[in-house]
């Protein structure tokens, strides 16, 4: 169980996140939706340890991980697939996967096989440099790289950003598959429609606060959400 309570974060001189609370039950898919600048990315970056919160508490499986450094948080099984994918362009595909397992000791061969099974395209391109992949392939690599740390909770920041509609559909089906393998998912998306379709629970963020929450399937039918985020 992952829980955030009363989290406030200052970022770039403004109060980007104000007193938000939510939880992510084990094995679920939870999504935060909202417009650009609503504080979604800041929330994920704070959980990952890149940004320190002003107040509030982040608890994972009973342990307070507020304000710990990123390496500690990755070690605890929480990993972030950053916005814009951020794969290492001058590392090969295989090296990008290996670096995802940086903190692990022992054999990672099985995990590499597992990722290649999830994304056969990556296997074909194993020796290519990350920078030569297409946008969709880079997103697969970013997800695969995150999986290499054997996360219990994987956070994804706008995985569909800038991808063609068909590729977006692939990415979402992969998100479902990863979830079926037992990984908990916290997803933020501007593509609210897709996100709410896969999510068990959704939270709507506006200018740093959570304004609405509910089951994904309920939010998709909610009049306010439809107007604001689903284009009608």
């Amino acid at each position: 169980m992952f829980e955030i309570s009363n989290l406030s974060v200052n970022y770039g001189g403004i109060e980007a996140v104000r007193d938000i609370s939510f939880s992510v039950p084990d094995g679920s898919i939870v999504t935060l939706i909202g417009a650009n600048g609503a504080g979604k990315s800041t929330t994920l970056r704070t959980i990952a340890g890149l940004v320190r919160p002003r107040t509030g508490k982040i608890v994972f499986n009973g342990e307070d991980i507020t304000g710990k450094d990123p390496a500690y948080i990755v070690g605890k099984g929480i990993t972030l697939v950053p916005e814009g994918r951020r794969i290492f362009p001058d590392l090969t595909v295989l090296e990008n996967l290996k670096i995802g397992a940086y903190l692990r000791s022992g054999s990672i061969e099985d995990d590499i096989e597992w990722v290649y099974q999830l994304f056969p395209r990556l296997k074909e391109r194993s020796w290519q440099y990350g920078g030569t992949l297409s946008g969709g392939e880079q997103q697969m690599l970013a997800v695969g790289r995150a999986l290499m740390s054997r996360p219990k909770l994987i956070m994804m920041d706008e995985p569909s950003l800038g991808l063609a509609p068909l590729v977006v559909r692939d990415i979402f089906s992969i998100i479902r598959r990863i979830n079926e393998e037992g990984v908990t998912i916290l997803l933020i998306e501007q593509n609210a429609n897709m996100a709410l379709q896969v999510a068990d629970t959704g939270y709507v963020m506006e200018t740093g606060v959570i304004t609405l929450s509910g089951k994904g399937s309920d939010l998709i039918r909610d009049e306010g959400v439809r107007k604001a985020y689903l284009g009608g």
């Binding site: 990123p70 951020r86 590392l91 920078g131 880079q138």
Partner: protein
């Protein structure tokens, strides 16, 4: 042709040798730049400090102890400089870190001035390296022959480290993207320290080879070789290790060919040696006009 080489052999030999020494220093510049985008102005002075340490240690200790001690302490010096002068400025503008580097450079020079009293210190004769040898009629020291070989061996080892080890992979990742590296669980401060320590120990090796040839150390001894190594790194494409090495060899060789201008080009005159540095730099300016990013400069292609 053979005659020509025979006559001017000593210039070519010292060119290759000096090039190797510049290369070992240049690697420190290029690696630090690659990872922090910082021109570490103190690097030449770290090289000078290694030279001075050797002067003091060898006066009371046998070489078997003083040489490893110099290598180790120089490595430690690099580590401490990074921790004290650069790490606290990690999120400051790049210009501030550069000013801090200039500060460290003067601090080391002043400290050296304090300890030496401004006198040139005679560098010890390291028995094996200082011995004279004859090759093809030219008299030179063993160090001249050892330098290029040792340089190549160290560069190969370094390349293997960077290409094939976990820490090397982390260095490549950190040099590209701090934040994402952190998300992988890499402790970037450790990787940065490692980079400084590697650069410093190579500078210490360079100092052993360089000062054996030049025989004395002054507080400003690091300035010129440091500057030339830096220029070599820029010339090769700063951030690139093979670039720095090749750039350094080219500069070392050019410099010595120009010094030998009177006999190599057959134009007599006493200005060749005096102006050798000026000619070397003029040559670099021309190359950089043609290739502004240097020989192996990174032309990053990122897909966004």
């Amino acid at each position: 042709m053979a005659d020509f080489f025979h006559q001017n052999l000593s210039y070519f030999l010292s060119g290759i040798s000096v090039g190797g020494q510049y290369a070992l220093i240049a690697i420190g510049y290029t690696m630090v730049y690659g990872i922090l985008r910082l021109i570490n102005f103190a690097h030449g002075d770290v090289f000078m400090c290694a030279g001075l340490m050797m002067v003091y240690f060898s006066s009371s200790l046998p070489f078997a102890i003083s040489i490893p001690a110099v290598l180790l302490l120089t490595l430690l010096l690099g580590f401490v400089i990074e921790r004290v002068a650069y790490k606290p400025l990690r999120s400051a503008p790049r210009m501030s870190v550069m000013i801090s580097a200039i500060g460290v450079s003067y601090l080391l020079q002043n400290a050296a001035l304090y300890f030496t009293g401004g006198l040139a210190k005679v560098y010890p004769e390291i028995p094996f390296l200082s011995r004279s040898v004859q090759i093809w009629g030219a008299t030179t020291r063993v160090v001249t022959l050892v330098t290029p070989v040792l340089t190549v061996v160290l560069v190969v080892l370094l390349t293997l480290l960077i290409k094939h080890t976990k820490i090397g992979m982390a260095m490549r990742a950190v040099s590209r993207d701090f934040e994402t590296s952190q998300l992988m669980g890499i402790k970037i401060n450790r990787v940065i320290s490692m980079t400084f320590m590697l650069g410093s120990i190579l500078a210490a090796v360079a100092s052993l080879l360089y000062f054996t040839n030049y025989a004395s150390v002054t507080p400003t001894s690091g300035a010129m070789p440091g500057l030339k190594a830096f220029v070599a790194a820029v010339f090769g494409g700063i951030g690139s290790i093979p670039g720095a090495v090749i750039g350094a060899f080219i500069i070392g060789i050019c410099e010595n060919i120009i010094k030998g201008g009177a006999s190599i080009f057959g134009i007599p005159g006493s200005g060749w040696t005096t102006f050798s540095d000026a000619f070397t730099f003029a040559f670099l300016i021309i190359v950089l006009i043609v290739r502004p990013t240097g020989l192996f400069g990174e032309k990053s292609v990122d897909k966004v």
